[in-house]
């Protein structure tokens, strides 16, 4: 187990700089998720921590050692890849045993470790088989097993669930989280999926274009996104962000307004009453029934994009009908229209 400290980390490929000096301090035992759109530099950052990519500038410390020039095998970290990296020509036992390649243990002790890990991951019945017959979820478990046998200082995951279907993904999320609770090992986890970030992380690191935009606990990021990008990126459906102008009874959508405001669909309620900080009205364009509640898309006059609001489960408006939605005080996010930086909540 170890703390990982990254300071002023830079990565260049030839002349192109893709990571522009990021700082990140990951506590011992913390589960940190790097999240951001494809191409923002998450994998590159992770691979530099692993030692698979050279560092162009800055320092990385694992534990109390600077590892900038240390080869991957000496860093005592384990990594799980999107493509599982399971070798089809070897039995599961051999595949998992790969993780113990440099270990000084005897063959019998190695076998015992593999058995232990396999039991933990429910892979015991398949140990002497080849991976051909395994499902995607089982394969990813083998990859995790291979990482676990080493008792590494930290686990690095690079989009490990992207090749799985939605249901399996949800299940594996929980398994990985449980694993973290049990082992208590530092985890750095990369994903482009904000749901994974929200559900698994102790701390989320939002990245964009080689910069860190914001770090914080899932709820901090959800409640106080520091800019429009993060506000849109975290939470489903995405936060409504639009121009508005302020009147006597709060804000109203206005394409020519001077304010840039955001409101999460869950907090923009159709047919709600009580104190109001925002009122929007318009014809319904689409209705999505989710079960516990209904998402109502409607387009206020003059606006290009529809807003999304929430209606109670059984109070479903018709497409074309006029609806009015309200937000309570405190629910609004205000942004600077020029810099798109958050100005606070209202």
């Amino acid at each position: 187990m170890a703390r990982i400290q990254i300071s002023d980390l830079i990565k260049r490929y030839g002349k192109a700089e893709v990571i522009h000096g990021i700082d990140l301090d990951i506590a011992d035992g913390e589960f940190v998720v790097l999240v951001g759109p494809s191409g923002c530099g998450k994998s590159t950052t992770l691979r530099m921590i692993a030692g698979l990519e050279d560092i162009s500038g800055g320092t990385i410390r694992i534990g109390d050692r600077v590892v900038n020039d240390m080869p991957p095998k000496n860093r005592n970290i384990a990594m799980v890849f999107q493509n599982y990296a399971i070798y089809p020509h070897l039995s599961l036992r051999k595949n998992i045993g790969f993780g113990l390649h440099t270990s000084p243990l005897s063959a019998a002790e190695k076998d015992r470790k593999v058995d232990e890990v396999a039991a933990l991951l429910g892979l015991t019945p398949y140990l002497d088989r080849r991976p051909a017959a395994l499902s995607g979820g089982q394969r990813q478990r083998v990859a995790i097993g291979r990482a676990m046998v080493r008792d590494p200082q930290a686990f690095l995951f690079d989009e490990p669930l992207s090749n799985l279907d939605a249901q399996l993904r949800a299940q594996m999320r929980i398994e990985i989280k449980e694993l973290h609770n049990r082992l208590g090992t530092t985890i750095v986890y990369v994903t482009h999926d904000q749901v994974e970030a929200m559900t698994m992380a102790d701390r989320i690191v939002v990245m964009k274009d080689g910069h860190i935009l914001q770090t914080g606990t899932p709820m901090e990021i959800y409640d106080r996104p520091q800019d429009v990008f993060t506000a849109r990126f975290i939470g489903t459906p995405s936060m409504n962000i639009f121009r508005a102008s302020e009147g006597a009874d709060g804000f109203a959508p206005d394409p020519a307004g001077t304010a840039l405001i955001g409101i999460r669909p869950q907090e923009l309620r159709v047919a709600a009453d009580g104190p109001t900080s925002l009122t929007a009205a318009g014809p319904v364009t689409v209705v999505e029934t989710l079960g516990p509640e209904t998402l109502v898309h409607f387009r206020p006059e003059g606006m290009d994009d529809a807003l999304i609001a929430t209606a109670p489960a059984h109070d479903i408006p018709h497409v074309g009908a006029q609806v009015t939605a309200r937000a309570a005080p405190g629910a609004l996010h205000l942004f600077d229209p020029k810099t798109e930086v958050a100005l606070g909540r209202r």
């Binding site: 692993a50 030692g51 698979l52 991957p72 095998k73 970290i77 384990a78 990594m79 890849f81 999107q82 493509n83 599982y84 990296a85 070798y87 089809p88 020509h89 070897l90 790969f98 993780g99 390649h101 440099t102 991976p131 051909a132 990859a143 291979r146 080493r150 090749n163």
Partner: protein, 279 residues
């Protein structure tokens, strides 16, 4: 399928034509081979009797060839040379192909183009420099002299590079993190993933060297170093051309190539299955 009209319906005129053409093509290919076997069974006196089914079949030719010490010697020479060259080709071509496919280094493209360009020079043009080189270094009339030009091939390197490019980097990086040396990553992780290509290359290399004629003919002078093709052709320049001996020797010479092909073909199929399962 037992329904007659259904069956009729399935065989379209186009398919009939295709099968006929393929059948005729196959016949053209196999006739010389059958003729070779047929001639090897004929007594020497009947050799110009061109019937495909021998009037009098005998195994005397086989007895004669196999008891001729020279034939066994040539056979072993060929086996030794083709095996060594094939193993060497497999090793070096895949090592270089892997390096070109999976490492980025200055001059990589240049090396690759240089290797590719050797594919465009015909053997006939290379024989003179090879010969001069061998003469300089005292390799004339030695096993090494026969073998050295084929120890590494541009074609094999190119083939292996293409296949190694299909091996996901994740596979290699996972091993790198687990602490395998670069050589071990190549040997234990990358090589097993390209068995189809290795098998195909092994077949090409073995067949090519087994049947090689021009260079071994030039570089050898003593009968003890002849390979099988050279040795068999030397039957033809003796006082009377003994066709039945040549045909028998040639028939025997096909056996190792058949074995190599039958054995390795399985790996090609199995390898394709393995490669298909990574997703």
């Amino acid at each position: 399928m037992s329904d007659g009209s259904h069956w009729m319906h399935r065989v379209s005129p186009g398919a009939t034509l295709r099968w006929t053409v393929l059948f005729i093509g196959g016949l053209i290919m196999i006739t010389p081979l059958l003729y070779m076997f047929s001639s090897s069974l004929k007594p020497g006196a009947d050799i110009y009797d061109l019937r495909l089914i021998p009037a009098r079949a005998t195994l005397d030719n086989y007895r004669a060839v196999l008891s001729d010490g020279r034939f066994m010697r040539w056979f072993l020479n060929s086996t030794f040379i083709a095996t060594c060259v094939t193993l060497s080709t497999l090793f070096f071509d895949s090592l270089v192909g892997y390096t070109l496919a999976k490492f980025r280094f200055r001059g990589r493209q240049l090396v690759f183009i240089a290797i590719l360009s050797t594919l465009m020079i015909p053997t006939e043009m290379l024989v003179i420099p090879w010969y001069l080189l061998s003469a300089q270094l005292g390799w004339i009339d030695s096993y090494w002299g026969i073998m050295f030009p084929g120890m590494m091939t541009g074609f094999g390197t190119f083939l292996m590079k293409q296949f190694f490019e299909t091996v996901p980097d994740d596979f290699l990086e996972a091993a790198r993190i687990d602490g395998l040396s670069e050589f071990a990553i190549w040997w234990r992780v990358a090589m097993p993933l390209v068995t189809p290509a290795l098998s195909a290359l092994a077949i090409f290399a073995f067949l090519g060297n087994w049947t090689a004629f021009f260079w071994p003919l030039i570089v050898t002078t003593s009968q003890e170093l002849y390979t099988l093709p050279i040795g068999l052709s030397s039957f033809a320049v003796e006082a009377a051309i003994k066709w039945e001996m040549i045909m028998t020797g040639a028939a025997l010479a096909t056996i190792p190539t058949l074995i190599v092909f039958l054995v390795l073909q399985r790996y090609i199929v199995r390898g394709v299955m393995l490669a298909g399962l990574k997703g």
